[in-house]
């Protein structure tokens, strides 16, 4: 499982965000993940999954993401950039 494999990796923001992605989308295959791939290109990235991503990132990085900020985060890279700017 990807979850176990990633635990061995360094605890970087990049790895953590990727880990969160696979927690929120447990059916996602690794080949389907791409940092720049947009929300509407993911089959299951609906508004609720978006909330889960935001919540998990807030908990993991101890940051707050407002609704206004959350609306503008459309890809894994957007999430990573936001975390890097605000942690």
């Amino acid at each position: 499982m990807y979850y176990q494999k990633t635990e061995k990796l360094l605890d970087s923001a990049e790895n953590n965000i990727k880990k969160i992605f696979f927690q929120v989308f447990p059916d996602l295959d690794e080949s389907q993940f791409n940092w720049t791939k947009k929300q509407n290109e993911y089959e299951n990235w609906d508004s609720f999954s978006h909330l889960h991503l935001i919540t998990m990132i807030e908990e993991n990085f101890k940051i707050t993401i407002t609704d206004d900020d959350a609306i503008n985060l459309h890809s894994a890279k957007d999430l990573l950039d936001f975390v890097e700017r605000n942690r």
Binding site: Q23, P26, L51, E59
Partner: protein
């Protein structure tokens, strides 16, 4: 026989030398209890029939004497939970229009500075004959006792439970759960609550022996009482039953010979049902659904696997219907109850009386039935969370998280959100020494819940706000977030 006291008197005659109550190492026979009840009643001889007398007293033999003595005199008993705040005691006394409070020496200081116009006396110094007594209530003779329920807004409502309500309910309990004079019943529940009081009635009605405990905090003590007195039944809330399983690996040694474990309907975990079914050799685990206003409206006996989350069916004389827009009782809707167990009205509360129309009590509880008519509870109407039109019953979310071994208990509430209307906030009480993180819980929710039911926020808490019965006050958690 049409009064509670008549059933007791019958057993004073039938079993005079049998122990009626055992409490704190002391025992009292039916004959002695009958004598003390009569003496107590003589103190009330000058009071007008139908007057209200309050009891603010711990579980004890004195409590039982006071309760039966008041009923014996044709008075109405107002039962006050001992963990009530001073303000709430005062509020209840004012609404009840009580003239006397009977209390204990240890609780006397809790009554200080209460301005309700009623006289406060301890059981030990009881001498009511000297008091100037008057009463002008226009009440039906039939009311036996008053128990106040907090309601969802926190405003107390007095449920006026009649003699006939009580006799109907007690006979149902006895017949369905087979209480008999050979029973020895362990009761660690407050007698000020409908559950505990119903167990007292059942025990006295059949002439069995009641092993009364102060409370349920010490589970070891409960088990020891079961063993030492060769008990046949145990009545306890689901939380205590689950605690016994968690705290005592050898609990089956104490419990296995019980013929009955009775609990009530506040979300008994499926695992607990299954464990007790395994532990009890030939005995049964049973539960019921009821309110103070409609005591024991259903009964459920968990005799065989299946339907572990049901609260059962109503007995004869009680009808339950589910009211919803789709006119299908198998879909979730409000539970309405009609029957001889339902109170006629609340105590001086015309607003609350609107909940009882043509004998039908609107419970505010949500439920549904299965194809065989078994009732299942789905939470409270007031707490349904509406997330962009998707309705979420908090209990469903809580149940998923509660199975985690690191979680002791959990409460989900809706909080307002500009985008979603409402979102779910979850309050979690961790098990002792638990290292579980919020991410662990969220991840578990994502795997096990539909997307819109996953909480948006999690907060760890030491405990939840609770009412005098230990019931979690959800509305206070909701208010916190408004």
């Amino acid at each position: 026989m049409n009064k509670i006291i008549d059933y007791f008197r019958r057993n004073v005659e039938n079993y005079p030398d049998k122990n009626a109550i055992i409490f704190g190492g002391q025992s009292i026979t039916y004959r002695k209890l009958g004598e003390l009840v009569d003496s107590f009643s003589e103190n009330l001889i000058n009071l007008k029939k139908g007057s209200t007398i309050s009891i603010f007293h711990e579980n004890s033999i004195d409590f039982v004497i006071s309760y039966l003595g008041i009923l014996n005199s044709g008075m109405i008993t107002h039962l006050i939970p001992i963990n009530l705040s001073k303000e709430k005691i005062q509020e209840q006394l004012e609404i009840a229009n009580s003239k006397f409070v009977i209390t204990s020496n240890s609780l006397l200081d809790r009554m200080e500075n209460i301005k309700s116009g009623c006289k406060i006396i301890t059981f030990q110094e009881l001498d009511i004959q000297d008091c100037e007594l008057s009463s002008s209530y226009d009440v039906e003779d039939d009311v036996a006792y008053l128990i106040f329920t907090s309601g969802t807004t926190g405003k107390p409502k007095g449920a006026s439970v009649t003699q006939s309500n009580t006799i109907f309910t007690t006979e149902n309990i006895i017949n369905i759960l087979n209480y008999n004079n050979a029973d020895v019943n362990v009761l660690p529940l407050p007698l000020t609550h409908s559950f505990g009081l119903g167990c007292l009635h059942s025990s006295l009605f059949v002439g069995s022996t009641l092993i009364l405990l102060e409370n349920a905090t010490n589970t070891k003590k409960i088990l020891e009482h079961i063993k030492n007195y060769n008990a046949t039944t145990l009545a306890s809330v689901p939380l205590t039953l689950t605690k016994i399983l968690k705290e005592h690996e050898n609990c089956s040694d104490y419990l296995q010979d019980l013929r009955l474990v009775i609990t009530n309907s506040t979300s008994i975990p499926k695992k607990t049902v299954m464990c007790y079914r395994d532990i009890l050799k030939t005995g049964i685990l049973a539960t019921y659904y009821g309110l103070t206003e409609a005591s024991r409206s259903t009964f459920m006996i968990f005799a065989k696997p299946g339907k572990e989350t049901s609260v059962g069916k109503p007995p004869e004389g009680i009808v339950i219907k589910i009211e919803n827009k789709v006119l299908d009782e198998r879909k979730v809707g409000e539970i309405l109850i009609k029957g001889k167990n339902v109170i006629k009205n609340y105590w001086n509360n015309s607003e609350a009386d609107k909940n009882i129309v043509d004998g039908w009590l609107r419970t505010g509880d949500l439920g549904h039935k299965d194809a065989e008519g078994y009732l299942y509870l789905d939470g409270r109407m007031d707490y349904v969370i509406n997330i962009v039109g998707e309705k979420v019953v908090p209990e469903e979310v809580e149940e998923v998280v509660r199975v985690l071994i690191d979680v002791e208990d959990v409460v989900a509430v809706g909080t307002k959100n500009e985008m979603y209307g409402e979102i779910i906030k979850m309050f979690v009480k961790k098990s002792p020494n638990s290292k579980i993180t919020k991410s662990d819980i969220l991840s578990h929710c994502i795997k096990n819940l539909e997307s819109f039911k996953v909480p948006r926020e999690i907060e760890f808490v030491d405990d939840f706000p609770r009412n005098e019965f230990g019931k979690i006050e959800r509305y206070r958690l909701s208010e916190k977030n408004e």
